[in-house]
């Protein structure tokens, strides 16, 4: 069970509202996308949900517990992988467990079990700079998953990758999501990515940023291989473009 409910969140910066009255919900095992232009307050909202910023107004509730302004409940993953260059992939992934005070050996054993599922087998003892960008993002996602098994925030995680790697990562991501149980809130400015991956899409537009639309993607999961080439996909895209 994991329900994230964000209610009426408003946050200002230098007396100007950046985001206003944001209300979004994320339910069990759902992938919800937050789509909007860059600089539209998406990342601000993320920081509020992660507890790094306290909103001027509104609440963040996780499984019935008010966690507004409290870090340590929900972790996230960014465009930059933020892997520590001086730690092996294994230790990077186990970092959240180390922080919780777990013994090194036990933590390594625990994360080791997920390497294959995440397509990271054989990278345990390597250092981040020895891996490709795509592989590093996989490790970063696994680290996020090790922190909180049921909920993850992803802030444009694939946008720094080249087109081909990105397509490969989308496929990988959908595969992994099929195997593990994870509710995800995903930020992007890439419409195709949003339609391809999500169950629901929130459109965040305007200054200050507000949620102006909620779109349901009815295509069942796992998605067909050529979903992004179908008529339905294009219809969703047209609808979103019209509303942005």
């Amino acid at each position: 069970m994991s329900d994230l409910i964000v209610t009426d969140v408003t946050l200002s910066y230098e007396k100007k509202n950046v985001i206003e009255d944001i209300t979004i919900e994320l339910h069990d095992n759902e992938l919800v996308c937050l789509l909007g232009a860059s600089g539209g307050g998406k990342t601000t909202l993320f920081n509020v949900i992660a507890g790094l910023n306290t909103p001027d107004k509104g609440t963040v509730v996780l499984d019935g517990e008010d966690i507004t302004g409290q870090p340590g409940h929900i972790s996230y993953m960014l465009q930059k992988d933020l892997l520590l260059p001086y730690k092996t992939i294994e230790d990077n992934v186990a970092l959240p467990l180390f922080i919780k005070g777990e013994k090194k050996k036990a933590a390594r054993e625990r994360v080791g079990g997920f390497f294959e599922e995440f397509g990271l087998e054989g990278t345990q003892k390597k250092y981040p700079h020895q891996l490709s960008g795509g592989m590093r993002q996989r490790a970063a996602l696994l680290r996020t998953y090790m922190f909180s098994r049921n909920i993850a925030l992803l802030d444009e995680p694939f946008s720094a990758l080249d087109t081909l790697t990105k397509a490969e990562m989308h496929k990988w991501y959908l595969d992994v999501m099929d195997k593990i149980h994870l509710s995800t809130l995903f930020i992007t400015h890439d419409i195709d990515e949003a339609i391809l991956l999500s169950d629901r899409i929130y459109l965040l537009t305007g200054v200050p940023g507000r949620i102006t639309e909620e779109i349901l993607i009815k295509e069942p999961k796992p998605r067909r291989k050529d979903f992004n080439l179908t008529e339905e996909f294009l219809d969703y895209k047209k609808e979103i473009l019209a509303k942005l």
Binding site: G72, K80, K100
Partner: protein
């Protein structure tokens, strides 16, 4: 294989330059162009070194001991200062100008004062070495701590990491390469600092030996001890490099 041959060629030129200088020196001094009394030839220096070897080693032991104690304390103090100044902003504002000020005080000028205050034993030497070594250590560590990536720290916070954990997982390892760069400087400062403070008062050490041979006008011995001091500094810097490789295995695999 190719890499190795490149390395050897790059070592040929500096080696050649040193040999050239030694050759010119030997000729100038050996043929009597410059009187041996003023400038002993390299061969004379080698002879003096061999002749006085046991004495040089005895004195080197004392100097090295002072340098090590001073350096260890300098590192400890430098580390503590950097941690405190990173943790408390007011501490940073208060201490930074003071630390810079300690570096503008000429070492040679305060050494005699230290001798007056603390006597001819080891204490004034160690204090002087601490003064010259803690500065590069503090500044480099502080830069390293403060330069830690903001986003990484935010991520650590989102995972519920304490300030202490952020320090040990992110800030400290991130400052290691800067720390070793400053340690290389600090080891040579430590040796030179020990010698200078021995000049101004003491019973043993390379600095004391130096003053003695100077008073006896044994310039060959003077040069022997000068070379010994630079050799010691080089050796220590090399040891720091080795230590760095041991402590930072991730750099090796690049």
């Amino acid at each position: 294989m190719k890499r190795k041959s490149q390395n050897t060629t790059s070592k040929i030129w500096p080696l050649l330059a040193v040999v050239m200088i030694l050759a010119v020196w030997q000729t100038a001094s050996g043929t009597g162009l410059i009187s041996k009394f003023m400038l002993p030839s390299p061969l004379d220096v080698v002879k003096a070194f061999i002749q006085d070897f046991p004495l040089l080693m005895d004195n080197a032991k004392v100097t090295l001991l002072e340098a090590f104690i001073g350096l260890a304390m300098g590192i400890l103090i430098g580390f503590l200062m950097a941690v405190l100044m990173d943790r408390f902003d007011k501490m940073y504002q208060a201490m930074y100008p003071l630390i810079v000020l300690t570096q503008t005080v000429p070492t040679v000028a305060i050494a005699p004062l230290l001798v007056l205050w603390f006597g001819y034993e080891m204490l004034p030497k160690v204090i002087l070495i601490v003064i010259v070594t803690f500065f590069p250590i503090t500044v480099s560590l502080l830069d390293g701590f403060r330069g830690a990536d903001r986003d990484t720290i935010s991520l650590m916070r989102s995972m519920g990491a304490s300030k202490m954990q952020i320090f040990w997982f992110v800030k400290f390892p991130g400052s290691l390469s800067q720390f070793f760069a400053s340690l290389r400087i600090a080891v040579s400062y430590a040796v030179v600092g020990a010698v200078i403070s021995e000049w101004l008062g003491g019973f043993q050490g390379l600095g004391v030996y130096m003053t003695r041979v100077k008073k006896a006008f044994s310039f060959d011995k003077m040069f022997a001890v000068i070379f010994l001091i630079s050799a010691i500094s080089l050796l220590l810097m090399w040891a720091v490099n080795l230590l760095q490789k041991k402590c930072m295995p991730w750099e090796e695999k690049k």
